[in-house]
Amino acid sequence: MSAETFTRRSPAVVWLAENGALAALVVLAVALSLLSSDFLTVTNLLNVGVQAAVTAILAFGVTFVIITGGIDLSVGSVAALSAIVLAWSATDAGLPWPLATLLGLAVGLAAGLVNATLIAYGKLPPFIATLAMLGIARGLALVISQGSPIAMPEAVAHLGDTIGSYLPVPVIVMVVVGLITSVILNRTYVGRAMYAIGGNEEAARLSGIRVDRQKLITYALSGLFAAVAGIVLASRLASAQPQAAAGYELDAIAAVVIGGASLSGGKGRAFGTFVGALILAVLRNGLNLLSVSAFWQQVVIGVVIALAVLLDTLRRRTTI
């Protein structure tokens, strides 16, 4: 039987799974640079990077969850809560900023662990558990902040700055977090276990993988990344907003799925997610540059998202 043909194909599949999205991104970028002379400038591309950062960081965390076959709707709220806790404890409670930052991250981690506990041990559907957390985290953010923005401590706010004129910190953070995600997914036990659980939970269990414990780690990571995203977001504004990142969960999930992951689990890549986040950011940036009317923007975004993924699926079908 023609074995060697297999070896030729299987990487091709992998390549496509990622690059369907990449192709879409390229097409989009080319189109925009033709439509607007302002698109393909260094500064603008840096802007796009900065604007993609928060969604991307959230999406990296969600990637873990989606690979295990779960979903996390709480990341937006958790991001806001973490930032608020940080700003509040540094400003009103007067903690030194490093402690405050740790506290902010801890909050994200904790939220993730609560999600995981409800899912792994309470056997709640991830959708419900994280939907509940979406409300709870947002509510707590409002309670703590009394609904008004809180200034971020100077030292932390530098996370929103640009080093020199060409090195925006949010972009650096995004890239670092992305690399970490990729390493976790490809090289660590935790990461491989995520794929196994998403691919066939029972088989994973019968192979000695402690499914519940792994889920705990998975959602904890998602929560932690959300905290990072929230802090970066707040730093960009130098102020933590109780309503920040509202609705970002859908963007994050969309980025992951556009990146080639499957909501039924077992598939997904850091790079794909990254591309997915970029597509969304490029799109929004382009619409501003072309000053498309407010009403039409939502239509265009919808159409382009559909086309982007369609391009991917069609290519996959025609090639295989």
């Binding site: 928060v54 609904g147 923005p149 309503q243 940036n285 501003n288």
Partner: protein, 288 residues
């Protein structure tokens, strides 16, 4: 169902705020709560989360709680009518605050006119720009009345200045982050911009962040609402002006009116709480 609290107790008032996602309305609520405390009234505040139908629900719920009067901060002037009618059926007076109600009678409307505010903003911005130059407008959530009316007022107002061109109108959903991102992007396509009108302070503050050093210097930014952060920015000179609606005062007067109405008094149709242009000169009066 009849009065459960007993006539002797404190006056029970219900207040449905369009949203508490926005510091402006948070202040409105604070103003109301302070006044209620001083007057010994029992005030219940709910958050309609910018959802007109949820607001109707909340007013209905007030009626079944047999409130003595209801303060309504409409999510949308047209969509508020059924809520008011619902209260009417059980003879509970309704005070509209910050936005009027179309298609139904309320006991009194305590409002500061958004359209007028928009006009003022246009005027102030134009003057500070020396009546010439290119302007970008940051719009609120498309389809919300605040976005509509402030936009309308501004467009009308800016007509008076032929030297000024509105070169971009983009939505930033009343959100500071979006204000930052959209402004950043606009600066690429419209580097010539010398003026920005943001339909609320949150977006204005985002835009200022995007403008960086240019804010207050080459580029004048005018916001709307007069939130504490905005007043700070005006003091710092990064924000050229904001249209202060004195939300605290709105809340205060709404509660006063509500207590009167609960007592059976008939009130004048409208109380106009003036919108004020806050600039570096007069900002001191507003920061308390």
């Amino acid at each position: 169902d009849t009065d459960t609290s007993g006539g002797g107790g404190p006056v029970k008032l219900g207040m449905s705020v369009s949203t508490l996602n926005n510091p402006y309305f948070v202040q409105l609520r604070q103003g109301a709560e302070e006044e209620a405390r001083t007057r010994g009234a029992q005030l219940t505040v709910t958050d309609a989360q910018n959802d007109a139908s949820q607001q109707v629900n909340q007013v209905q719920n007030f009626t079944s709680q047999s409130m003595k009067a209801i303060i309504l901060n409409p999510v949308d002037s047209d969509a508020a009518a059924p809520a008011v009618k619902a209260a009417d059926r059980v003879k509970i007076p309704v005070i509209a605050v910050d936005r009027g109600v179309n298609g139904a009678e309320v006991a009194q409307t305590v409002a500061s006119d958004n359209v007028a505010g928009g006009r003022l903003a246009a005027q102030e911005l134009a003057e500070q720009m020396g009546e010439k130059g290119e302007v970008a407008v940051l719009e609120g959530v498309p389809g919300t009345s605040a976005a509509r009316e402030r936009g309308q007022g501004f467009t009308e107002g800016i007509k008076a200045f032929p030297g000024i061109r509105v070169v971009a109108q983009q939505p930033a959903d009343f959100d500071r982050t979006k204000g930052l991102d959209v402004m950043t992007n606009l600066l690429q396509s419209q580097p010539g911009i010398t003026g920005v009108f943001a339909q609320n302070d949150e977006m204005a503050l985002g835009a200022i962040k995007a403008l960086g050093a240019k804010a207050g210097q080459e580029v004048k930014v005018v916001g709307f609402d007069g939130t504490p952060d905005a007043l700070k920015a005006v003091q710092a000179g990064t924000m050229a002006a904001t249209i202060a609606q004195q939300p605290r005062l709105l809340g205060k007067q709404a509660v006063q009116a509500a207590i009167k109405a609960a007592g059976g008094e008939t009130l004048g149709k409208t109380v106009a709480v003036p919108v004020k242009v806050v600039t570096k000169e007069n900002v001191a009066e507003f920061v308390s």
